[in-house]
Structures are given as structure tokens and as C-alpha cells.
Symmetry: C2
Subunit: 347 residues, 2 copies
DNA sequence: CTGAAAGCGCTAACAA
DNA sequence: TTGTTAGCGCTTTCAG
């Protein structure tokens, strides 16, 4: 640690590191005194080779530090042991859990996860998914923005699973939003709220539309007036822009399409001198990382994001490995997490 | 949207989708009336083929919806156009920005990003990196936990770059922590703090050790007493566990190894009736997503994480594509972001 | 149980 | 400029 000032520039390795030749089954075969095909058999299908030769081969492979070349294997088999995940925005914490779940399921099954993002563009999304398709055994699309037709087209080429959206003829993993919404509406109703505002998310998003619809349904059912405001970007900034409309709506409580919006909204409202929840209650969706950091902490409809990613990937891999239909009945119910941002309605 | 109750289970596609045969350069060649190798040339090295035949070939490829098979290409060339990124914990928001930066740089260069995590285990980390190495053209390790020797070993096989750590003979991208720490110490000093506590992070982490060392140096230099407490896990929970020690330390301000710890610490302190910053000031490191959600919002030494990921990946790809040494002088200085969690020292 | 041989899709000499 | 011909490393028949 002699030099402290120069560390902000990549250090230059002294010598160009010798990229060592990779060892192949031919090397192993030679060392073990067998045919390459026998090496392949021994390493892949234990039992289909004489026990002692197998041991000899394994020892040879070990000593040579042999590792199979996934690319070379992919050619004859057509399977790469790679699965892809497409998210619309790596920045959005909603996907962190989806990624984590998908990664876990993939790793568990011995698959490698490849990740890409579409930066909220439906065109880029399709293009990148298509590109990725060539190298993966299957694809998971998280809250995709592209059209149903495009998704179906992808599904015709390789197995595809979708999270947070329902698409015909495609493996779809969707949480039961209904349940959480019912809880939330009941919660607000019990607190005396009878006029609620709703800040919608991107109209291109299936999940955004769905939440809006179910919320409207439920409020009508509960004889609560729901005021739908203009949709905003599903970001903290988007939430801030909705503050004025929320204030002017005369509602005593507000639903935001997601937590990001809810958080931005709260920040802006508080800065305008509005007290939460004394003046207005706020409810979000998702329960993302950080939802409990705010002050007051955010009441939100929790989506089982991690499970969603995990289940989608598991289902996909089940299909990839030719397995039978994944058994349904996942525990994907949304639930209300009550925190500090909701309180009794202002008189 | 007829059925609302059944959506929590993967929908079963009616028919097993016909996985269409993938089209190869042979198909394109036949359609265009040329030899496969000509197709390869036309598509890869525009200009080395007659302009009109090239156009004919492109048209044929287009009409057949041809896409190159990356695996097949990887075999003869030895290059996959895939780069890997290893992080220690996908859950940790610190890596979100690193991932985003790396992804951006990779995509920009036409590479695909492969992601894996080590779940904070040095063994798993090395094993997964090694496994990944077979299929990538290069590897970026973000805040790795494995030993220098292991990193060097990886670097002998394929180009490797490291973020947030200095390793001999390996491309290292490290922010200039010094600068931010100096600012932070000066800030606290100006507020009258003369006894500061420090909650260290995982001892296995190079960056954790470095922050501790530089902080100690700087405080000594500024004639401030620094009380190093026991290290904790770099998580919100870890931060909570440090609260008692912090309170008992008698310090009027506390540095946490990272924002996660700082946030957990603040939560626990506040719940114990300690006021921030009236009773104690808190400073974190990184400026992660959510650091401004807390109440009070967190004063923190911001690390240019996104740039770190981007630069590391760029430098790596520069090396992969045989380019010359990446020009140094990146804008990777850390800076102090002053928010609400720091104030004048209690008398 | 094991060896021989063909071929996955593509690239890269080498010829023509 | 284009065709021919070998492979890249591995799996997988098919013989033996």
C-alpha cells in the first residue's frame, strides 16, 4: 500500500500473461491410455464405463485440470446449459429479486445465467432477446414490454417463460395480485378512507394495466371512489411529478403503481408540507429493497418477486430438460405489508 | 382476463411449441447460390466479397432469418463474445451499479454479459469463476473475496479485471477512496467531532481493509481519535448488531464500512431513542440506491460504482480484443455527499 | 466395455 | 473474388 494516489487508473500488468492452452479430452485420453470417446463417456455417464478405467480417466482429468468446453459440447448436442434472463431495467430494484431468484434456480440446476436489459424499450427488448436466443437453452422474460406476438415468436424457437404477464401458449408466472389488493383496500377502508387516488404506471406494461383494473374493480366492490390520475414513469422521479395531481385530487389516500413511484411521491409531498399519513396515506406495490427505509416507512402490496424469478426459471428448465409440466400451485400470493405510511383518514 | 384466481400457476401451453430448426450458413449459401465459406466471409468481413454477391447473400440471410450460432463460431475462433461478471452478492445494492456499468460497456462492444454470484463465499467464488472461465473471453471480478493467488491463477487462463481491489499483474480498477475519506474527516472535524467510531466490514474484503486503514491514517493526521469496533456483516442486519457497541464507544460520530451497515445502524439507534444527528452523526460509504430514503438521509462517501464497472469492463475488452493498454486517468474519485445524518458534535 | 468415425456450424488457410 | 478442405472439442452412432 505504498502508493495511494495512483490507484484510480487500471494497473498495468508487467508481462502479457501467458494464456495457457486449454486441455481437451484428447489430452486426458492420451494420459489415461484410452480413446477420447471413452473419456467423454466416463465423464458424462458414469457407470457406462468400466469402473477402474473410469477412475483412471477421472484421475487423469483431475491431474490435467481438465474442464469440459461448453461451446464444443453445445455443437453436437444443441444444448448450451445457458439460460437467459431479460429485464427491462437493471436499475429498477424490482428486478433485483427476480434476478436473484432466477439465478438461484439456474445455478441449482447447473445452468449459467445470462442477463440482458432492454432499457425500457420494446424494440431493443425484442432484438436483444432474439440475439440471446441463439446461445441459450431457454429464456425468461421479466415484465416484458414487447408484444404478445413477439413473445410467441420467441417461444416458437426456444422454450420461453414470462414473469408478471400472461401470454397465451407461453409459460407464464404471475403473482396473484388480487389478494394483496383486496387486503389493501380493506385496510384503507377500515381506516375510514372513501376516496382514493391511483397513480398508474407505464401503459405498455401488462402488470401495470392489471393492477389498475383489479384496483378499480375492488374499490367499486367496496364502494370506494377511485380517482385514476395520469400515468407516470415507474421511477422515483415519476412519483414526484404526480404529487400535484395527488394533492389536488382531494383523496385521503393514494395507491401508486409501484414503490418507486410511491417513494418519489412521498418525498415530494413531504417537502410540500403535507404530512403522511396524517394528511394523506400512501400505498405502494412490490415491497422493494428500501421500502422500509423511508420515513414514514412504506405500506405496500408485497409481490413475491424472488419466488417469481425462481419459479419461472424452474418451470423453464423443467421444460428445457424435457421434464413434464411443472406442478402448479406456487406460493405467489401478494400480501399487504402495513407500515407507517397509512393511517386514519383525515376528517 | 376471464380467470383471476388461477393466475398464480404457470399457464400450460396448449401444444408443445414446434422448436423450429435453426438455419445455418449452408441454408443461406444454397439460397444465394454460393459456397458456405463465402457466406461466412460476406457476413463477417464486409468488403472482402463482391458487392453484388454480398448483397445477394445478405438478402438470403435476411429472408431466412439467419443468425450466427455463437457456439459454432466459438469453436474455430476460440472467442465467444461473452464476458463474465462475478459479484459476491446480487442482493447487495452496491453491485447494482457495477452490474449496470459492466453491462453497458459489454453491450456497447457487442459482447454478452454473463453474471454469477458467490454468495459471499470465497470458495464458491473461485469455483464459479473457474467454471465460467471456459465460456467467456474475459472475466470481471467485483470486490472479490478470493485470494490474490487465485485471482492471478484465473488471470493466467483468460484476461481478468478486478474492481475495488488491487492485485499484482491483474487489471485493477480502484476508486480513489482517499479523497472522499479526507473530505468526510474534514467535514466531521468542522462539526466539532473529535472522537469517532468505525464499524469495519468483512476482513476478507480488500476494500474493507483499505477503507479502515485510510480512515485511521486520516484521523490520526487530523488528531481525531478513531475507535475501531468489531467487524460486522456488510448488511443492514450487520449494522443493527453494531448499535450497542457504537453507543458504548462514547463517540459523537460513526463511520460504517458501507451504507447498508450505516442504514441498519441508524435504524437500531433511532429505535433505541438515540437521535441522529443530534446525539450521534453517521457516515456511510458507497451512496447506494436508497441512501437518500432514510430519515435523516444518509451522509456518505460516494463511490463511482457504475463507472467502476464500466471502466473495468472496457479495460478488459480492450485487452480481449488485443487492443493496447487502456488509457488511464478515469474519473473514479470518491466524494462526500452531505445529507442529514451528520451534524454538530454533542457537547 | 471400448475403439473408430462421422458430424454439429463455423472459420481460415490454401487453391483456383 | 470465390470454392475446397481441414479442423475447433465434443458427442454419438456403429462396430468390434
Amino acid at each position: 500500500m505504498a502508493d495511494d494516489s495512483a490507484v484510480d487508473t487500471p494497473s498495468e500488468p508487467d508481462a502479457a500473461p501467458q494464456q495457457q492452452e486449454s486441455v481437451t479430452i484428447y489430452d486426458v485420453a492420451k494420459l489415461a491410455g484410452v480413446n477420447p470417446s471413452t473419456v467423454s463417456r466416463a465423464l458424462n455417464r458414469p457407470g457406462r464405463v468400466n469402473a477402474v478405467t473410469e477412475r483412471r480417466i477421472r484421475a487423469a482429468a483431475e491431474s490435467l485440470n481438465y474442464h469440459v468446453n461448453p461451446m464444443a459440447r453445445a455443437l453436437p448436442t444443441g444444448r448450451t446449459s445457458i439460460v437467459g434472463l431479460v429485464v427491462s431495467d437493471i436499475t429498477n430494484p424490482v428486478f433485483f429479486d427476480v434476478i436473484r431468484g432466477a439465478e438461484a434456480a439456474a445455478t441449482r440446476a447447473g445452468y449459467t445465467l445470462v442477463l440482458t436489459e432492454s432499457e425500457e424499450s420494446d424494440e431493443r427488448e425484442y432484438e436483444r432477446a432474439q440475439r440471446m436466443l441463439r446461445m441459450v437453452d431457454g429464456l425468461v422474460l421479466a415484465t416484458p414490454r414487447m408484444s404478445d406476438d413477439q413473445i410467441t415468436a420467441l417461444g416458437r424457437q426456444k422454450p420461453v417463460a414470462v414473469v408478471n404477464r400472461l401470454v397465451d401458449d407461453v409459460l407464464s408466472v404471475v403473482p396473484d395480485v388480487q389478494h394483496g389488493i383486496a387486503e389493501a383496500v380493506r385496510h384503507l377502508r377500515a381506516l375510514g378512507h372513501s376516496r382514493i387516488a391511483y397513480v398508474p404506471g407505464p401503459p405498455l406494461s401488462w402488470m401495470a394495466r392489471r393492477r389498475g383494473e383489479l384496483l378499480a374493480q375492488r374499490c367499486e366492490w367496496a364502494h370506494i371512489e377511485l380517482v385514476a390520475l395520469d400515468p407516470v414513469a415507474p421511477t422515483v422521479l415519476g412519483g414526484r411529478t404526480a404529487a400535484v395531481a395527488v394533492r389536488d385530487s382531494g383523496a385521503t389516500a393514494v395507491f401508486a403503481y409501484n414503490d418507486l413511484i410511491a417513494i418519489g411521491l412521498m418525498q415530494e409531498l413531504v417537502e410540500t408540507g403535507i404530512r403522511i399519513p396524517a394528511d394523506i396515506s400512501v400505498v405502494g406495490f412490490d415491497d422493494i429493497f428500501g421500502a422500509d427505509f423511508t420515513s414514514p416507512s412504506l405500506t405496500t402490496v408485497k409481490s413475491p418477486l424472488r419466488e417469481g424469478g425462481d419459479h419461472a426459471m424452474s418451470a423453464l428448465l423443467g421444460r428445457v430438460t424435457g421434464g413434464d409440466a411443472p406442478s402448479g400451485g406456487f406460493d405467489l400470493a401478494t400480501t399487504l405489508v402495513v407500515r407507517g405510511s397509512t393511517g386514519t383518514a383525515k376528517a
